[in-house]
Symmetry: C2
Subunit: 555 residues, 2 copies
Amino acid sequence: MWDNDGMQQFFNAPEAVVDEMLSTLTELFPMSRSEPASGVRIVVRDDVESAKTRVVVLSGGGAGHEPAHAGFIGEGMLTGAISGDVFASPSAEAVLAAIRHTTGPRGCLLVVKNYTGDRLNFGLAVERAREEGIDARVVVIADDLALGVGPRARGVAGTVLVHKLAGHLAEAGRSLDEIEALCRTYSAKIVSMGLALSSSLVPGRGGERRSAELGLGIHNEPGRNAVSPADASHAMALVLDPLLDHVNRTHGDATKLVVLLNDLGGCSPQELLVLTRALLERIGPSRISLLVRPAALMTSIDMRGFSVTLAPADDVLVEALSSSTKAPAWPGVIVPRRVSTFAPRLSAPLVHDDADTRDAALGALVRAAAHALVAGASDLDALDAAAGDGDTGTTFATFARAVLARLDEDTLSTGKYPGLFRDLGRIAAHVMGGSSGALLSIFFTAAATKLAERGDDDAARALLYGASRMTAYGGADVGDRTLLDALVPALGALSVGLDAAAKEARSGATKTASLVARAGRAAYVPEEKTRGNVDAGAEAIARVFEALAAAKTAS
Amino acid sequence: MWDNDGMQQFFNAPEAVVDEMLSTLTELFPMSRSEPASGVRIVVRDDVESAKTRVVVLSGGGAGHEPAHAGFIGEGMLTGAISGDVFASPSAEAVLAAIRHTTGPRGCLLVVKNYTGDRLNFGLAVERAREEGIDARVVVIADDLALGVGPRARGVAGTVLVHKLAGHLAEAGRSLDEIEALCRTYSAKIVSMGLALSSSLVPGRGGERRSAELGLGIHNEPGRNAVSPADASHAMALVLDPLLDHVNRTHGDATKLVVLLNDLGGCSPQELLVLTRALLERIGPSRISLLVRPAALMTSIDMRGFSVTLAPADDVLVEALSSSTKAPAWPGVIVPRRVSTFAPRLSAPLVHDDADTRDAALGALVRAAAHALVAGASDLDALDAAAGDGDTGTTFATFARAVLARLDEDTLSTGKYPGLFRDLGRIAAHVMGGSSGALLSIFFTAAATKLAERGDDDAARALLYGASRMTAYGGADVGDRTLLDALVPALGALSVGLDAAAKEARSGATKTASLVARAGRAAYVPEEKTRGNVDAGAEAIARVFEALAAAKTAS
């Protein structure tokens, strides 16, 4: 939990971890736990009395594998679970107490992972329960293919499939004999393999994390061998190929599969999605009858790794895994399909609305304003250098040149304001990019829409609305040392005339020298760097309006 | 993904991550994505045509926050989502294409997190959609309390609550006006704060991870300040106290709360349970009206951290969050309760069944066997030293001494075999511990049960059954160089007499010198270390039977 670099994981006292986790489950879900003072850690369904009318299914083992095992408690899955300390088997006494607490006349099946401690403690508990007249049985799960099929195979994530199978059969009212037999049959067919980039980190134990290994257990046992996967797909191949090889040899390569992808506890959601894709690509969706939704199911505290579990699919298994359960950690199943796509309807880069009329006088005004921006580029860049990255002039000039080009080729809609503003908005978004392009595009586009909606021709009012949209999306308002400080007063005076508007724009721009930036990149620049300088954007607006006024007078 | 120490995360090419993730979603869930060649990344519900009859709800932003945003697509939540690159806003063109593809006559609400890029690109798309006659609106979420309430507040995990609220209202047939107004009202009340032990690690970007910070954004922005939490509860307090303080000042300290605990992507399931407990303890379950089930909802690739989101609870919000949705990543809600416990029924440490009769002759035999084990302790330890940890003799002697003590105080049930075996089984489990204690206890307990079940008195047959249970749970069989190599032949000869049994035991023990260990700790010891030595457990059995035969003859 702690090392010299500070806290590594979110835990409290290491010895409190298991009890904290189990207690939390009972706060969130309909489960109860044995009193902490009892010294045993049993979690059972709240409705354990009604569960007794069916075969009871229990599981458990060391802690540190959460959500296994208590997360799988609920109707249709486990009746209860017994937890030991982290990576240590619970005592036989704890298992026996769980059997006593839960089991009714139809008996009890204990699903146990193949680890010596678990086998012996659950085994002893079963023998003592039988001595007490309770019909208890054990099924040992040994699905880890890493050490070969056989008695040395460990029990890993495949155990969760048996939890679901047993719980489904119990819920369906099947007898203990039937459930035991089916669980033995299916567990013999389940194979798993894991790969981790780093081993687990147990609270309070410290130690170095080992690097990438294939075929590791869930108690931080060393893996079968060290590996150096090149990427996620390679890691998946390392795990999947031996599994598929085994399944193909044992059941034929046409067998459809039940597939489980288990996060060993340290994968990010992003990695799990990428791994899922690698899995689906390598097996092929058509061969997968059912995929348990990828999730952390049987973990090894904080291990950045995954395991895959395969089983040949048949009706019994598919039905059992597909049925509903109230177990909170069961993620459900998916029938994967091929990637589904559609063709989005994208805009043509620029509109050439030739049906629009042209207005030579308006075109000339636009041209004058554009020239002013091109001519002022270096001045504006210099003004911007103190507050930003010194590109305001260049950016506006880029826009202006594109507008001039459109005028030259006669593809700018100058005949009506809505068409003109729409075109200017498209050009700004297309050629300027970044925040300023988006803002200028919002300004002109909103003005165009406003005019079209209103059906009138009050361009000044429409542009003021556009300015308000810049404020809404950009966050800056008049007084925040932006181009709005020149633009808004100018638009307000536009009904008087362009000369008045130009004066207001200049006056507004001048005022920005004493304003403090509160938006955009300049807001993060010390005030003394901008004080005394006019804001580059406001200066650009002033020059545009001055150019418009001069052009109007000259015409 | 890679550094000098090898692969750190399960990714393929960094530039492929986002497309791989989105494609995977469409393989798993009823969603479609825009063709990758389109250059835009849009994911929509498969049933987008029927969704058009209601208000459409869209969201999106930079990638790297998975399952946000596409994981929240589904009936009752989002209609679609638009993704940019990792931590980069999608283009306005992409957002506009999504609006075009999804939106019907009832309009569209875009839920946008308060980041400049998102505000501008979603804003421009909305303005262009409106120009095209589509009624689109934006609600900006600014729930992060780290930088104070106001326009600089970032949008973080609280956004997911607004997704659910908007989706619920849309599904209920409410109008765009109503949904927009309610989303504005509620989003103004939602506050969040995060804490991470290490910052995120973006595929392909490398860089050092920063250490613990409070109040960080979800794009790896630096936090408000560095922190050094002492443990999980302290970390939770650092996050929760400013949030509760704000809520109490704004809404009063009696206000019931909606609470969301978000894994920022790098917490293990164990840590999330411990953090949940810390959260519930600090707020108190009675003040929590509804808890969104703790999960990774709005992440920052691989960031080991969490955030908490609070909102005052009322009927509208509680109903909206509680309603069902098909969005695959919505984890559901919980009404937390106090820890629920029960008293397990534990066994008395040892049975004193005074109703049992005593049999002096049998008692004398048991005493003789026990004396043999005590006397042989150091010999047996020496034999075991080559193969194990040299404690076989000590362990058996501990058992034997406990048996002698029970004989001395006349609390051993010597009158009938079932009672004797049951007592020996309890003593073995209680005083020996470990694997050998469990195995010996299984042996005697199973034999006792067998005799009680059968109602006969064939002790040899019952003990052979006990030996078979040792094999079943322990994994070793005759021939594996364990005590079974002496025990099973001896029990087989018991019907002939104790002399015959002792001879078989000795013969079996002798054979173990040439056997290879295949079970227990000795299986991991090189063969040459054990070859030529008799197995310590088998030797113990031989000595026991020799002592029994001698005592029988003497009596």
